[in-house]
Symmetry: C2
Subunit: 306 residues, 2 copies
């Protein structure tokens, strides 16, 4: 299969759906009070060229277990909204203090810090609003229990919250400039990025109707792919072209961030990333061609050609 | 009824439940990586002496329509968690830049801006995690549809998000130092504080099993009480004792914030607040003694003896 074409097509589906949820707002209607700057800031970050890896993983996972229809789409979009909020807040001066992301000035550089903080808050909240929308109920087959939807939202909140992404971000910030060992680095990686990637894969399979055994296999895939993704990101931060990265390479090093390359060296990091993708693919090798996109995404993550 | 005793008792119930969700964490277990500072920051703000008005309104509303059991408690706590996150973020230097709240240094003054931002993010996320917890399902009678729970979470997200609280905060920030008229002031008040108070009342009634007619009456009560609450807050900001307020009085004025007193004068503001509470109480006058706490809370809000 042509994985690049697959990713492009799925990305377009996600972009279209996100565009529907956050349509362009007229500058002024001439009447009424509207937080237009907030809306602009949200759109600025949401449509800043993200590759939609998390939503695509959830959709690929949904389809791999035989999920049909558009029921996964609101969840896929919510995953991207949560990811985008985390990027906006991570870039803030009090956190990573990044002026550029994907080659564009960061949200707070364009709209100011207050709107940056509030745009992140809004995106996080709207993600949960989207996942609880009544219209979602009609998207699934009658065999779907509403309890499933609650469970999926719960797991996504768990992955995004203090025992997941936010917790990882806290340890990341507090570890800057310190010499940290593998347990800390692994905590950061599995929580800051790993948790949301893992839950994206799991949520897709769960909403697609997977049984417990399948869910376990997909979680193993998700965990391994998540860590491989972050190691690839660490490698890219050292080796990547600034033009492709959209920000300065070597920023992790200059900031004293613990990374796989800083702990294990470049060769060993590449070996581990490759091994993780192999293990991820192995976890789902009992599935047929319907799981091919998940396998291909694994290999694509290694290349990080984006 | 003794409303102060009632409020105290309900506050204790909420505090106990919140304590269960966010127990004190040991400083160090000697092993493992844990975001202890995040946990401390969350507890610091969550147990900083809040009066728990939103959760109490949801509980009073739940009981007024005949709701039984503890099913309302996780939602009551979630409402307080969302409120607390909004206070932490509002106090940040990029927003209101407040050093004190309820007589204590604000969260970011104690734990730093990064942890302040992340503690807010975590509280917001954990609120949704709490409301989707599976154990909640057992708290309601079988007549409760899980779809109700989804609807309630959806409405809470709506009230907290860009068309609610966050939207109001954006307009509030952008209106500072500008001469604004009543439409803008009303937008700020009904969105920044009003939306969450309104949804607290509505969620309690909905989860308590209220029919559509009752829900409509409770929404009218909630809207009026919400605006009265904010006007009383505006008045308190001018007239209140700093010792009681926990921060400098007159901060709205020095910051150029639009308030009811600045637009209508003190006497007219007091008259309007009183009128709103009267209208709120009228909206639920067909209910019997079971709605007495809601009526008493209305009059108590006017006094703002806290």
């Amino acid at each position: 299969m042509d994985i690049k074409k697959y990713l492009q097509k799925k990305k377009e589906t996600v972009d279209l759906a996100l565009e529907k949820y956050f349509p362009n707002m007229p500058d002024s209607t001439g009447e009424g009070v509207l937080p237009t700057s907030l809306h602009k800031a949200i759109r600025y970050s949401l449509f800043a060229g993200g590759k939609r890896i998390r939503p695509i993983l959830s959709m690929a996972s949904f389809e791999a277990v035989g999920g049909e229809g558009d029921g996964i789409l609101p969840f896929a979009c919510a995953l991207e909204m949560i990811h985008t909020y985390s990027l906006i807040h991570d870039d803030l001066p009090a956190l990573d203090n990044d002026d550029y992301r994907r080659g564009q000035p960061t949200c707070h550089k364009v709209f100011g810090e207050a709107i940056g903080i509030l745009a992140g808050d809004a995106l996080l909240t709207e993600a949960f609003k989207l996942m609880t929308n009544q219209s979602i109920q009609g998207l699934f087959s009658p065999s779907h229990d509403r309890g499933w939807v609650l469970d999926v939202i719960h797991e996504i909140a768990q992955a995004a919250g203090m025992s997941g992404m936010v917790g990882g971000q806290v340890i990341d910030i507090e570890s800057e400039g310190k010499e940290v060992g593998l347990p800390t680095l692994q905590y950061i990686h599995t929580h800051k990025t790993g948790a949301m990637i893992r839950v994206s894969v799991w949520a897709g399979a769960k909403l697609g109707g997977a049984d417990e055994k399948t869910l376990k296999a997909f979680i193993r895939y998700g965990e391994r792919i998540g860590l491989a993704f972050q190691i690839a990101d660490d490698i890219l931060n050292v080796e990547g072209k600034a033009s492709r990265l959209g920000k300065k390479t070597g920023s992790d090093l200059s900031r004293g961030k613990a990374t796989y390359p800083s702990l294990f060296g470049m060769e060993e990091s590449k070996r581990r990333a490759k091994e993780l993708v192999e293990l991820a693919v192995t976890a789902i090798d009992s599935f047929g061609p319907e799981a091919e996109p998940l396998r291909e995404i694994g290999w694509f993550i290694l290349s990080r050609e984006y």
